[in-house]
């Protein structure tokens, strides 16, 4: 069953979403939601993924959980879940 979720878009990616902060997407898992986001906002997936995995400097959360602890791209979603995308704050 495909879930409908809301996705919070960080400032740096809002040029892809016509400056919308909150968008809606559907999918059974995070990979499917990212594919749906990319269909709506072409180019967005490339900013989130690298060689088929989450980019190191992007954090994605399902509700309060960092997806890296719940299966990353295979994290299962249910309708009403809230996804937050945040660029890592890091450097050298």
């Amino acid at each position: 069953m495909s879930a409908t979720v809301e996705v919070r878009i960080p400032t740096i990616l809002r040029p892809f979403t016509k400056e919308q902060k909150l968008v809606s997407a559907t999918g059974v898992d995070l990979a499917a939601v990212i594919a749906d986001l990319d269909a709506q906002y072409p180019g967005l997936a490339d900013r989130l993924l690298e060689n088929g995995a989450l980019r190191r400097f992007i954090n994605i959360y399902v509700n309060d959980e960092d997806v890296r602890f719940i299966g990353s791209l295979t994290a299962q979603l249910k309708s009403g879940d809230s996804i937050t995308i945040l660029p890592a704050v890091a450097g050298g």
């Binding site: 400097f57 954090n59 660029p87 450097g91």
Partner: protein
């Protein structure tokens, strides 16, 4: 959002950042300044999850909590700062590749020994890989 060409920061906040940097030496120290309408209002030191002399990273859970707090209060992150402990206060290649907040001032401080007891406190915009240094105005 227009990029300001200068950072105005209360002297006490700048002093607190340098104090934190010295306290966390030899690891890099990091944190944010939160405010509204571009005005720096409150300092929030963050835990360096990398605990390293050459790298800093906000813990992903802390980062989410920070954004929730800022959103709930209708605030914004004005400054993201960290310290360099052995090099000048200029963004490293890693700093530039990670910089993901085009609206923030990136402050770097240096506590390197060769300039002690002096320190450096400098501010930059980092947008699409381009670093632009800006004036820092210390206010009361």
């Amino acid at each position: 959002m227009s990029a300001a060409t200068r950072l105005r920061i209360p002297q006490a906040m700048a002093d607190a950042i340098l104090t934190q940097a010295r306290a966390e030496y030899p690891n890099e120290a990091c944190g944010v300044i939160i405010g509204r309408d571009g005005i720096a209002e409150r300092l929030k030191p963050m835990f360096n999850a990398a605990a390293s002399p050459t790298f800093y990273e906000f813990d992903p859970k802390d980062l989410l909590a920070l954004h929730r707090e800022v959103d709930d209060n209708d605030e914004e992150i004005i400054v993201i700062y960290h310290s360099h402990t052995e090099t000048e206060a200029y963004p490293s290649r890693t700093d530039i590749s990670y910089a993901g907040e085009p609206g923030a001032h990136y402050v770097l401080v240096s506590t390197r020994e060769e300039i002690a007891p002096a320190t450096e406190f400098r501010s930059y915009r980092i947008i699409d890989g381009v670093v632009t240094e800006e004036l820092v105005e210390f206010i009361l």
